[in-house]
């Protein structure tokens, strides 16, 4: 018999036991982390355990980073916005009300921080050049993505009006409900629906324009 094969001799090796123990402990931690409510972590912080806030950071950092990058289009600006968001949340934790969802409260801070970052950037704001050729290539490549695709998506999103982009990203990228979006942005549900629809129309029209050229 040729070729490699796996054999099971009965008792697990010491190395396998170590791996099993590690995986089990990680899984247990994951379960505990996901079972512990945000409000419980907030309570722990307010009781003096600042490490509990690290759990909240780990829980929301990736999602917030994605939103900040999609909104600002620049990783350095996004990192600044993230830092300020979590710091403001930490400093303001005493004003957090348990009846509010922590995620919605955090998004509200993040949305404001991204708006402020974009406003401060002002004229410095990077203008994404409309490279028709690059977008055309992207339309043809939809079946298989390359490393350039994220930049192309950023470019397409950056062409949207910031308020339309904000509504679109919250709705379809972050998958918030309209009620959650309203809480995060301070904008009414009806207006948000209008913004999302217009964002979709603009994006669709943009692609149709590319195809027509």
């Amino acid at each position: 018999m040729c070729g490699a094969s796996l054999s099971w001799s009965g008792a697990p090796s010491p190395e396998l036991l170590v791996v099993q123990r590690y995986v089990t402990s990680q899984a247990r931690r994951w379960v505990i982390d996901n079972e512990t409510s945000d409000a419980a972590y907030v309570q722990q912080v307010l009781n003096g355990n600042s490490d509990a806030f690290t759990r909240l950071v780990d829980r929301y950092y990736e999602r917030c980073a994605r939103f900040a990058v999609r909104m600002l289009g620049d990783r350095d600006d996004a990192e600044d916005a993230l830092q300020q968001t979590f710091l403001r949340a930490y400093r303001s934790l005493g004003r957090y009300q348990e009846q509010d969802r922590f995620s919605a409260w955090l998004y509200r801070i993040l949305v404001n921080q991204c708006r402020s970052a974009a406003a401060q950037r002002g004229r410095r704001e990077r203008v994404f050049v409309r490279e028709e050729t690059a977008l055309l290539n992207a339309a043809d490549r939809r079946q298989g993505w390359s490393g350039e695709d994220e930049e192309l998506v950023q470019r397409i999103l950056a062409e949207l009006d910031p308020l339309l982009r904000e509504a679109f990203v919250l709705k379809y990228v972050e998958e918030l409900s309209y009620e959650e979006m309203s809480a995060a942005t301070g904008v009414g549900v009806s207006a948000l629906k209008m913004r999302v629809k217009r964002a979709c129309d603009r994006l669709r029209a943009r692609w149709e324009h590319i195809k027509d050229d």
């Binding site: 950092y61 830092q83 913004r195 217009r198």
Partner: protein, 199 residues
């Protein structure tokens, strides 16, 4: 959410799918954040109650509720004036019309049929979108007769914002109606005031 994604234009759905990809985490940035947090004093809740009591709150009332509240306050003021009347007039006087109007409020809340018209002979399809149908272009399709597109919609009394969607892509405001303020997206919406039957 999957259903919502499926309803999107394929190109837009593609953008969404790609935009959902996680942004590669920068471990150093995350560590800098944790360091910055650890350098902060631990937040306390000592001032939470005071902060809660002092923080400003915004009360948003719809126009009808505002009108009802104003009528109620007028009524309270009139009744209060009667109660402290010192010139010997009898207390039994007629309530002002504004206060009496409150009894008609439920009837005035009844929706009314509103006809929307757009003359667009070149259009192949037109629909009405607005805050009353969630800006859904499929909710209120309009029917054409010799290039005049019409639809009847049942609306609650009050202000409504709307627009026409021509051929599924062009937002067109109503040329015969006021423009909604504060749009700022390049598209213009119109405003219609549906009056209460009693007014």
């Amino acid at each position: 959410m999957t259903d919502e994604l499926d309803s999107l234009d394929p190109n837009v759905r593609w953008i969404v799918t790609e935009a959902r990809r996680p942004v590669p985490a920068d471990a150093a940035a995350r560590d800098r954040l944790i360091d910055a947090i650890n350098a902060e004093p631990v937040p306390s809740r000592g001032l939470r109650l005071v902060t809660w009591l002092l923080q400003p709150r915004r009360l948003v009332l719809p126009p009808l509720a505002t009108a009802a509240l104003a009528a109620g306050l007028v009524g309270v003021g009139v009744l209060g004036g009667i109660a402290i009347n010192r010139d010997g007039r009898p207390a039994a006087v007629q309530l002002p019309a504004a206060a009496a109007g409150q009894t008609q409020l439920p009837d005035s809340l009844a929706p009314r049929a509103v006809k929307f018209v757009l003359i667009a002979p070149q259009a192949t399809n037109v629909s009405l979108v607005g805050d009353f149908n969630g800006w859904d272009s499929g909710a209120s399709p309009m029917k054409a007769t010799d290039g005049t597109w019409t639809v009847f919609v049942s609306l609650q009394p009050g202000l409504h914002t709307y627009s026409f969607v021509v051929d599924g892509r062009h937002f067109v405001s109503d040329p015969t109606a006021p423009i909604a303020p504060g749009d700022g997206f390049g598209h213009r919406s119109s405003v219609v005031l549906v009056r209460q039957p009693s007014l």
